[in-house]
């Protein structure tokens, strides 16, 4: 949530807005005022003018502020994140003729140093970004999950062992071992199919790769295969595994 707010604020910056009228951001500004006194100044190579620079750095602090302060924020940010974006859209449409004075697009991100997100907002025009917003959100979600758990690269032909927590079987994790026969890339919904022999019967399961139910994935072995979907294995009798 806060990354979204940071993103929307950054979008505003690119258009050279440095005065936020509007009741939505009063809470933000009050917060900024209190934070300014105690803010650390991170080094930044912005070539923009000083007033905007201050705002930039203090906005940088919104993301890196202390945990307790950030907990205060969700109350208002939850409410004002969406209006923020719509307000941005409104502002964009009215002031789209304003020239782009921020020289380099990715360098403002250096002020929000520590955390994450490489400059994902590639376009300076807001409406162009909006076309890719789903892609951007998807990539963000994937990176978030990847940061939490370590998810190895699963390619078809690998023999993989999973530890899955099955919600129906509330008893803990079952280990599932099988060969990956297919992988379908779809952002957060990337799924892969696992084929295994259970008690003499072949079972195929499809798992979302970033599912929180998958506790651990371990690649045991790799087979060299020459295609991406190994459905021909269904006809072949697999060795008991």
């Amino acid at each position: 949530m806060q990354s979204f707010i940071g993103g929307s604020i950054r979008l505003g910056q690119r258009h050279g807005f440095y005065s936020w009228s509007g009741a939505h951001f009063k809470a933000n500004r009050a917060y900024l005022a209190t934070n300014n006194s105690s803010s650390l100044i991170h080094g930044s190579d912005n070539s923009i003018n000083s007033s905007r620079n201050h705002l930039l750095q203090s906005l940088g602090q919104t993301r890196l502020g202390s945990q307790t302060k950030e907990l205060m924020l969700p109350g208002c940010s939850g409410g004002c994140s969406m209006p923020g974006l719509s307000q941005l859209a409104a502002m964009m449409s009215t002031c789209s003729s304003r020239s782009m004075t921020t020289a380099a697009s990715p360098t403002p991100d250096s002020s929000q140093s520590v955390t994450d997100v490489p400059p994902r907002i590639k376009f300076k025009r807001l409406d162009k970004t909006a076309k890719h917003i789903m892609q951007i959100l998807d990539k963000e979600a994937v990176e978030e999950v990847k940061a939490q758990r370590e998810i190895p690269d699963i390619k078809p032909g690998n023999i993989v062992q999973l530890r899955v927590e099955v919600p129906e079987n509330k008893r803990r994790v079952s280990t599932i071992k099988g060969i990956v026969i297919a992988r379908r890339n779809a952002g957060l919904n990337t799924t892969f199919r696992l084929r295994r022999m259970v008690a003499g019967v072949g079972v195929e399961s499809l798992f979302p790769l970033y599912s929180p139910n998958i506790k651990e994935i371990k690649v045991l072995d790799k087979k060299t295969v020459r295609r991406a979907k190994l459905y021909y294995l269904r006809d072949k009798m697999n060795a008991l595994r």
């Binding site: 379908r184 079972v203 798992f207």
Partner: protein, 159 residues
């Protein structure tokens, strides 16, 4: 789900073949022919019996609950087509059964899907208690929700 839809699109021809293939090749033993994608267990589908009630193969007469057919975990009415000589059920008897393995994938609440290589059924009586005393092969978790707990306890492996 998106995954099954995508795979369905790419194999639409095969699934038609699989539907026909499953029904036509019913009387032969379960050969791994073309695995159709979405094949319901409907009328005239022959299923394997995986308990020790005496029957070997049953043909589905009716899928209770569902216009299109039965899926994993559903109950069907079936007629015994092939039976062992000394068993609790004889050939030609009409019995109820619970589908425990289906070649059609069944989605789970966490987004995963499961699909078996064959269609198998466990014979039950009208109340839902299994007739046999043992169940062979794996059974899925879905039976727990359908309240077929007895079958789950008899099974050696829960897929």
């Amino acid at each position: 789900m998106a995954a099954s839809f995508a795979s369905k699109c790419s194999r639409v021809g095969r699934s038609l073949l699989g539907g026909l293939g499953n029904n036509l090749s019913g009387l032969q033993s379960a050969s791994n022919e073309v695995v159709g994608n979405n094949v319901w267990s409907q009328m005239r589908t022959v299923l394997k019996v995986v308990d020790n009630s005496g029957a070997k193969k049953v043909m589905c007469i009716q899928a209770l609950k569902g216009k299109k057919g039965a899926r994993l975990g559903d109950t069907i009415v079936a007629s015994v087509k092939e039976a062992m000589p000394n068993g609790k059920v004889k050939k030609g008897k009409v019995v109820y059964g619970v589908v425990v393995r289906a070649a059609m994938q069944r989605g789970r609440c966490d987004g995963s899907e499961v699909k078996f290589d064959d269609n198998a059924v466990v014979l039950v009586d009208k109340q839902g208690q299994p007739i046999g005393t043992r169940v062979f092969g794996p059974v899925p978790h879905e039976l727990r929700n359908k309240k077929h707990v007895k079958i789950l306890t008899l099974a050696k492996h829960i897929a």
